[in-house]
Amino acid sequence: MTTLSAPPMPTLGHRASRWVSRNLIRIYAGLAFIYLFIPVAYTFAFSFNDAGKSNLVWQGFTLDNWKNPCGAPQVCHAVSNSIQIGVLSTLIATVLGTMIAFALGRHKFRGRTTTNLLIFLPMATPEVVLGASLLAMFLNLRVNPGFWTIVISHVMFCISFVVVTVKARIASLDPRLEQAAMDLYANERDTFRYVTLPLVMPGIAGAALLAFSLSFDDFIITNFNSGIESTFPKFVYVSAARGIPAQANVIGSAMFFIALFIVIIGQVVSRQRKKS
């Protein structure tokens, strides 16, 4: 029983629970980050493992893997393939997707709603199904799966993501800016070039980065349509049977840090722009 006149002295348990309730959000955020980054940390740590054949057990620290990332057979060929496929499919998907986004975002035409819906379909379809159908299609057309069938498949599923990203940017664009450009003697082409495109550019750049990471990362569709050609995810999958070489961890960690670096640079630049 507590009296109303004097507040009870806080007990240790009280204080602890108060501390928890005050810092609940921080604790939760900390746990969430740990959960998210444990795999990355694990990958990074094991890139320094003096692994030998199997990289499953810690054998001792070494820098050899980082000094010689191409040390494992075929790994650099696979990475170079992945980069080439990524760049090509990003370029094609970004150009095509941006054009579709402008058509959908700026023009009214018959079948626009249907197109909007159809654009979403590849994102909603299971990748295994897409991969298998694409392979069936290529075989029916008597095209041998290889480098170019991978590019075609990647362009196909990247386009949807590009369209959605760029369209969001176009939707947030104030139409009065384009009207102002027209009012200031810019014809349709100049308005697009000097006003619309520069303003939509951040959206296009974001879409391109997304497309590249999707393409670089893709395993399922690639596995169906690559024939004997290798990509980095496929290399990792195939070598998993015999033991993944530590070089895979090196390349994976490097990709992570490059991405992190790009994001940080982007943040710094945009912050400086706001300041100046």
Binding site: Q179, D183, L184
Partner: protein, 375 residues
């Protein structure tokens, strides 16, 4: 300096029977208008009256459903906006956020293929007194500064007609007053035709040589601020510009340059020149500051009661109820003849015949009242 593709017409801007429909909705209804070359013209009306649509048709951002628009002898009705020698100051300025102030102002010049833009841009910046901001981006400027840059960006092109779409709407009152004077000065300096769209009657009266009052897609009345205020032709104009007392009345006779009208047993006189209808049913109008709290005049109402008073500095505003329960507004200047009445006091009203006007009695007596603050 101009690109040959941009029309170089000079002369009056003429709208001839222009209409604009959006589906079944008629935004602008058979509008005819002549804006003299070099004048400061205001399109005044409540929101939704069609004034902005009219402006956008002149800019080329909308195409009229019917009618023609001309500058001088050149028909520009269907001309693309970038071919017209007309520039717009947009309501929210629409400065290009990715370009510096310098490049914003140079935009129109560059698109017309002018190579050396530096002097022109600097002159325009100096005209709006913001030369030191050339290298900033629009996001770093205050609302008032952005507004001036928008004016500079339009004026640097020396358009034949400059359109201003509620350009001061987003500014606070003090800045608005300052910019009104500023815009007037700039207009005098450059001598370009300004067409100013606004819902603020005070702004229109301060700045414009000629005001067209618009309502429901039509022009109600056009004239100088004084004409519109002192001799409105419709109840809408009477109520929309300032405050107005309107009394339902009947014309008894028209002779000797004056009309005699009666309302609820009272007889009033109006000069015939100030009667804008042939109908015998009229709305008798008189402005609040023309009413006096006395009973000697030709037009007077006795046995009224004060129902409200408020002191507003330069004057005291009274609400006075007539014997037939109509409330009239009276402004009394705060000088020596002050009456200092209180709520409940008996009072008489009087005013001069030449301050009275008579409008067609078939109109809504409240048309245009309490509309000006809508936006």
């Amino acid at each position: 300096m101009a690109n040959s593709k941009v029309s170089q017409d000079t002369g009056d801007l003429v709208l001839n029977r222009v209409s604009k429909f959006y589906g079944d909705f008629c935004a602008v209804d058979d509008l005819s208008l002549t804006v003299p070359d070099g004048s400061f013209f205001a399109l005044l009306g409540p929101s939704g009256c069609g004034k902005t649509t009219t402006l956008r048709m002149i800019a080329g951002l909308e195409e009229p459903s019917q009618g023609t628009i001309q500058i001088g002898d050149n028909d520009i009705t269907t001309q693309k906006p970038y071919r017209r020698n007309v520039n717009t100051v947009f309501q929210n300025y629409a400065l290009f956020p990715h370009l510096t102030i310098f490049e914003n102002i140079a935009f129109g010049l560059r698109r017309r293929g002018i190579k050396d833009v530096k002097t022109e841009v600097e002159n325009a910046l100096n005209l709006v007194e913001l030369g030191h901001l050339a290298e900033r981006k629009p996001g770093q400027l205050s609302g008032g500064q952005q507004q001036r840059i928008a004016v500079a960006r339009a004026i640097v092109n020396r358009p034949e007609v400059l359109l201003l779409d509620e350009p001061l709407g987003a500014l606070d009152l003090k800045l608005r007053r300052q910019m009104q004077i500023e815009l007037k000065r700039i207009q005098m300096e450059v001598g370009i035709t300004f067409i100013h769209v606004t819902h603020d009657q005070e702004e229109a009266m301060t700045m414009a040589d000629t005001i067209a009052v618009m309502n429901q897609g039509k022009i109600e009345q056009m004239g100088s601020a004084t004409e519109l205020y002192e001799a409105p032709k419709t109840a809408f104009v009477a109520n929309f510009l300032g405050q107005c007392n309107l009394i339902k009345a009947k014309v008894q006779s028209r002779a000797g340059g004056k009309a005699v009208v009666t309302a609820k047993g009272h007889t009033f006189e109006v000069p015939l020149s100030r009667v804008s209808t042939d109908s015998d049913s009229v709305l008798l109008g008189v402005r609040p500051e023309k009413l006096r709290l006395d009973d000697r005049g030709v037009n007077s109402i006795k046995d009224c009661v004060v129902t409200d008073r408020s002191f507003v500095g330069t004057s005291t505003q009274y609400l006075v109820r007539t014997p037939w329960d109509l409330e009239l507004v009276v402004f009394e200047q705060n000088d020596e003849g002050l009456h200092d009445l209180h709520v409940g006091d008996k009072v008489s009203l009087e005013w001069d015949a030449e301050h009275t006007f008579a409008l067609d009695g078939a109109q809504d007596i409240n048309a245009g009242a309490d509309l000006e603050d809508e936006e």
